[in-house]
Symmetry: C2
Subunit: 760 residues, 2 copies
Amino acid sequence: MASLEDIGVAAAINILSACAFFLAFSILRIQPINDRVYFPKWYLRGLRSSLLGAGAFANKFVNVDFRSYIKFLNWMPAALEMPEPELIHHAGLDSAVYLRIYLLGIKIFVPIAFLAFAVVMPVNWTSGCLQGSKLTYSNIDKLSISNVPLKSDRFWTHLVMAYAFTFWTCYILKREYHIVASMRVHFVASEYRHPDQFTVLVRNVPPDPDEPISELVEHFFLVNHPDHYLTHQVVYNANKLSSLVSQKKSKQNLLDYHNLKYSRNQTKRPSKKTGFVGLWGSKVDAIDFYTSEVARLSEEIALEKDKITKDSNYIMPAAFVSFRTRWGAAVCAQTQQCRNPSIWLTEWAPEPRDVYWDNMAVPYVSLSIRRLIIAVAFFFLTFFFMIPIAFVQSLANIEGIEKAVPFLEPIIEVKVIKSLIQGFLPGIALKIFLIFLPSILMLMSKFEGFISLSTLERRSATRYYIFQFINVFLGSIITGTAFQQLDEFTHQSANDIPKIIGVSIPMKATFFITYIMVDGWAGCAAEILRLKPLIFYHLKNFFLVKTKRDRIEAMDPGTFGFNSGEPQIQLYFLLGLVYAVGTPILLPFIVVFFGLAYVVYRHQIINVYNQEYESAAAFWPDVHGRIVVALVVSQLLLMGLLSTKEAAHLTPFLIALPVLTIWFHRYCKARHEPAFKKYPLQEAMMKDTLEKARESNLNLKEFLQSAYIHPFFKGCDDSDDDEMMEEWVQEPVVVQTKRQSRRNTPLASKQSCSLSSSGD
Amino acid sequence: MASLEDIGVAAAINILSACAFFLAFSILRIQPINDRVYFPKWYLRGLRSSLLGAGAFANKFVNVDFRSYIKFLNWMPAALEMPEPELIHHAGLDSAVYLRIYLLGIKIFVPIAFLAFAVVMPVNWTSGCLQGSKLTYSNIDKLSISNVPLKSDRFWTHLVMAYAFTFWTCYILKREYHIVASMRVHFVASEYRHPDQFTVLVRNVPPDPDEPISELVEHFFLVNHPDHYLTHQVVYNANKLSSLVSQKKSKQNLLDYHNLKYSRNQTKRPSKKTGFVGLWGSKVDAIDFYTSEVARLSEEIALEKDKITKDSNYIMPAAFVSFRTRWGAAVCAQTQQCRNPSIWLTEWAPEPRDVYWDNMAVPYVSLSIRRLIIAVAFFFLTFFFMIPIAFVQSLANIEGIEKAVPFLEPIIEVKVIKSLIQGFLPGIALKIFLIFLPSILMLMSKFEGFISLSTLERRSATRYYIFQFINVFLGSIITGTAFQQLDEFTHQSANDIPKIIGVSIPMKATFFITYIMVDGWAGCAAEILRLKPLIFYHLKNFFLVKTKRDRIEAMDPGTFGFNSGEPQIQLYFLLGLVYAVGTPILLPFIVVFFGLAYVVYRHQIINVYNQEYESAAAFWPDVHGRIVVALVVSQLLLMGLLSTKEAAHLTPFLIALPVLTIWFHRYCKARHEPAFKKYPLQEAMMKDTLEKARESNLNLKEFLQSAYIHPFFKGCDDSDDDEMMEEWVQEPVVVQTKRQSRRNTPLASKQSCSLSSSGD
């Protein structure tokens, strides 16, 4: 077991590596050539234009202003400067609330850490149960609950602390839920007119032999919402079209690549082979080949578009129905339309950018079967994912590689390389699986048939959290695969499970401290460096970029990735709450993580990420719920731990804790969750009345007519859907300040603060 | 362990006692003097008028027509004769659907019994594992799964049967859910105008310093539902008034009793003592005393009524809001009104008869605390109810009685009586507790703050089911109190619990067979005899009845009692499904129970019970859900049983069963439950349009004005609320056939069938 010194060394290494990342970042970000990698958000918002083309040649690529190198950490206060209302205006409510999760971690754990260090730690340290025993122990263990002897009355301290921590966490959670709910309500209320405020998605329109779907929808809503129905848009099945468009895009990229190559070296026309991945087949001229391919695909796309608009088989049994008033839409979205609850299903239309078009046509019965399949698949994924990985690992050994690529044998047989490969190979299959896991979970959610990106991400996040809870948290505490645990747990009594885990918890403290430093501290620092986008941007810039738009596409700002990011944070909440009472030495590491991550992600959200959709913080109930789960888990484990310490007389007092916590959760759910699921009629009516008074001659129909058309139909060109999307979100017209970069602090100026207040 | 012969003897005894009950019933019911005990429903519906006063004196009290004694079982076919649509018209949809639960039992278990007898029984019988062993065994055991040797391949039969039974049960459940849902939809659609179709209950109206509640409500709904709001009624706090009224009623009863006594024996004025329960205090003339008391209370009631209507403190923050159209009401009931989800809570108003007035003023925060308290209280009630009972039992011993009432000592000391008391006393506390349990659970539900009788009953039924499941089902299988079980289970592994229970199940078959015969068969027969109402009716009739109305009040028809009746049936479903695969010998007993109970309750519903409210079968999702629970329990227990038989290779096949069953439940829930919770807008619009076309000059406001006034304000007289209630339910005017009783078959004549068809 590691001593305090070991941890100090590990901390030093990790702090140094984090500092190295930060240093690299500070040097790279002030190079003009990387400007689009580290500040894409400003380009996308149109607040920063290209630096290339102005100034001296050297200035274009390398920063020669040496003063800027000195203040290499000054992005940190800069990231914290932007006030929250401006941040909401700049990056959306989702991003602003996502940052509040880190803030929540700081708010919860800083007082808990102080209290634990002031009370729990001295009690543990002075107990001296381990001193006399013959067990090997370290200083860390002397600071943990393991040091308190059996049946000691000192456990009352831990009990009281458990209550104090629970009440504090619940208080902060409740306050935060309240704040986020009112932020959401205020955001929705102050938003300008949006198509999704007036629009309801209706699915599973029953087939009618006499009427086409479009007329059927119109008649149904004219009859059942006579005073409110305005217009509707049917949904086309454009899945084939979208695959054609993406094919064309990749061919176009290759064409551009070859063109560029030819233009640089005009001596040789580039050629390619027509067979699989260009490895065999007859040789043809690459530029001619791709030009003809692109032309063919353009033709096919035009044909397909024509077919879609004319052939009624392409119309899906779904439609976006728009209403005259927000009130009418709110009513339709929140009520059942038809006696049969599996047809004419209505729900709020997602934001146009948020729609996941491919799932529009999933029929009702299939939905419930799909959910069963995914539930079973996820169970197997969670508990048996080691089986295929072990199989791959058994294949990927030295002998296998030598057989497959015999000419590498002499290199592999070098002793150093051999041992390196042998140490590295078994892990690689697992690592690859873990990297792809969020994408696998996303695919699962897509198969389940959700129709908006935000729900897809939230669903994937839930699954990822469960996976991490079982395989990272439990898997690290009780070593062994998840399936072995499952098998063991079903053979244990319900009482024993918390005992087994509870007892192991203090012993794993050093492991988790290291984990927090590597995954949390160094991971954060790596996130800000953006190594992958940096490399890809320069590759693309070199091989593909011709026009300004190409450069914009090459930027790849990414998003904050709720589906993988949030479960990662939740793991820290879980660790913090579980260790708070027993081994509080872990808490400072978690506090540092939350602080660091808050600064890093605030910087990234301001300067880099470009959120694809705006769900107005619809994910908060999930975040809240998972922290409550962590709280209950920590209480159960404390109960298990104390019962092995023969302090069973405390158990009745501990039982009240989870009961109260669960009740607190139900109370919060009833009190605050409706703000995230429902749209109150009073609000709708208020906004309708205001709007009528302000703009009495508004042509709403025109405004809504084309809001929910499939992106590929928006314009004649099929690649400008992002821009089209942007147009829909009609923001109040403001004079945008096309600021030239203030190189070190790319923050909005104080003037642009007025933007947020005019967002009303 | 009982042999087949023992069970035969027990069956004979129970059949004989059931026959004796039936015989007594057939003799008692044809006596004219008991007519109001056995046919109150017909009196209440006005289809049967008093028999007294017509014909010869003897005929008035005793039936002298000896032919009618011969056909003593002919009520049975008579009870089955009434077709279902007429039954719905006669007794309401709730009653008709309640009967379908028994029918469902027959539908599920008759084919299962046949299949089990044809396949499982021979397989068990011919296995002969017990023959060679030294264990004591009976013929019953030879018919059960215990007879199959370890690791036998014959367990495949049981596996296949488990699948067959599950699929059959699910198929029938799905079909029945569909039928009941469409019955409900049809019933609601064909109902004539009801106030609850237009009315929404709004609760937690926030206090406003500037406006009284009535105006506040009006303004709020005029603003937020401008085209639909019609009128509203505030809710008064009449709890004190209702206690005064009930006091007056009891005094009035005593006055009537003394008056009657004096009129029979004019020699002596009755007197009473004014102290506690009339045991001490000064002696006064009873008639004068009660006359003055009644007068005083009448005055107080008048005062209180006056106060309620004038003092604004008596107005609760709740109101019944009525709308112009069903569409408007449906919209308001199913949406959230205000940004804060804890104020302006709207929900469908219950039927006027169904309103539970006392809970109208429970504030929102208190609601969630009350639920926590009741949840904890119910947990203790379920697991620790034996503690107070054991305490009472320890007090209630012979010595204690002798000390309390010393003059009884010589009687008690007689040996026979002493042993009788000693055998009887310990059980009596438990028996009393079990009799009062449904009332205790009802009180709990009332404390939780539900606002309609139907929800109160459904909630109590759920709790009663859980209590029975733990204390009767599990308690009989694993002897010991529920708390001991809980303690044991938390120390067992999750795998072992189904094993322990599964193994005990076949051993308890004879116990449950006896239980079914005593509780089910004889219980049914006792139900039809109505011994308690019979005695009470005659007592009241003798002491209190003066007018025709008194006689109507003395009838006490009762209801079918969903809160205690349905959990009882569910226990039989549970037993049937659990024993179907292992010990099918139990099935015929259950089938007989369902058949007998169906006939008995059909008779009672037609002739006796008077349902207090009509919830349009809102309880069906609960019924369905509990049968699914029973199915899953039976599958888990089979898994446990088979794993002790070392047939673990079958377990993977069995695991799929509960997964599929739970998925089936979720599918049914999504597909059919909305019909019980929501009111589709299409329906509402259809009925509105029809009504507008038919009765264009209807004054809806007048119709709704007084629908939701507290019963005590309905008329000047406070005892005629039942009649007032009846008035509200405006049924189509039909010429009621005041039929004189056809003594043996008090069924509606064929002509009255037309009633049901005109109910549209």
